[in-house]
Symmetry: C2
């Protein structure tokens, strides 16, 4: 098994943090997305969509998509459960994972990709107006999340989950996307500090 | 239990098709999104993000997000499995569900919401240029999917799954989004016709 990794980009990082929380070590093939190496032949032959990460199993089977790769490892190594326990617990993790993806992670990514000069070669065409309208969308969701986090420790409940990993990586991605965390969101900040202090955050 | 439904919009439809495939009947509260009823108090008190569908359990617990609601029912009624079987099977469904969501369903939705005059009140602000660039993105993914579907019956393999439901609803959504299916994509068309012919497609 080997994982085609993508360096500092947020999706490859989500998988690395997930694996660190599980205590799973997977051999990695380094791919420097900053140098556009995700377009090189050994990546695009495995994922024609030219995105990372990509997991290759020993029999050559390819899995792509961050959350699909994480789900595969959850099935193989159920503990600690990062996709939730019980029907309702799993549904809640899915709900918060998706809320954070669609209303924070994606808006931050759109802001970065559509306004950052270094992304001109990546995002064709850049639509700067689209990047700009996504900054307030991210802030608006953080305001909602801040109220939610007043009542519980983690995004989906009392237990750390993949929804928290998505939140951690989204918030760290706000810096290059030039979105400033409002000081008023004290619950979000307490949550973020706890996530960032876990050893897995360094993965 | 009751499901706050959203009429013709594609996300509420995904849940209805999923429930029809499972043979599950859930009492529905009708919400006319065309008349902006998703902003009425009984919806926004349950989902401050003002999106549908919303599932309310008998004890008042709220679940939102299409795929989270589907996953809850998958856990309660595992057969027929619509999220896959086995570790690899589940990962493949997740992979194709996400590929179709991000590269077809979302681009079609962006094209609709950012260019259709009726969406001016919904999508604030509309960014017509963003809507326009999403039409070729959807077509480009369909070209990739067409090659993939030459080798198998359904999106994620030999079995019907939630990834197919997302594909069906995305393709039907292409019409109001003014994206025309290229005649050359014969595998996609064969797949779509088979999905549309299932009784669940009428849900």
């Amino acid at each position: 098994m080997k994982l085609f990794d993508g360096g500092r980009a947020p999706n490859p990082r989500r998988v690395r943090v997930f694996l660190a929380e599980k205590g799973i070590d997977v051999p990695k093939v380094s791919v420097d997305m900053g140098a556009m190496e995700h377009k090189r032949a050994d990546v695009s032959s495995r994922n024609p969509l030219q995105r990372l990460p990509v997991l290759e199993l020993d029999d050559g089977t390819i899995l792509t998509e961050t959350v699909a790769i994480c789900r595969y490892f959850e099935e193989l190594h159920p503990e600690p459960a990062l996709f939730g326990n019980s029907a309702l617990g799993k549904a809640r993790v899915e709900m918060w994972q998706r809320r954070i993806e669609q209303n924070l992670f994606q808006p931050v990514a759109f802001a970065f990709r559509h306004t950052h000069p270094a992304m001109k070669e990546w995002e064709i065409p850049q639509v700067p107006e689209w990047g700009e309208v996504n900054r307030p969308k991210a802030i608006e969701f953080l305001a909602f999340l801040d109220k939610e986090l007043a009542a519980r420790e983690f995004a989906a409940g009392d237990d750390y989950s993949i929804a928290d990993i998505t939140g951690l990586c989204a918030i760290d991605f706000m810096k290059p996307a030039k979105i400033v965390m409002p000081e008023a969101f004290t619950n979000v900040q307490r949550w973020y500090r706890a996530l960032a202090a876990r050893p897995s955050a360094a993965a």
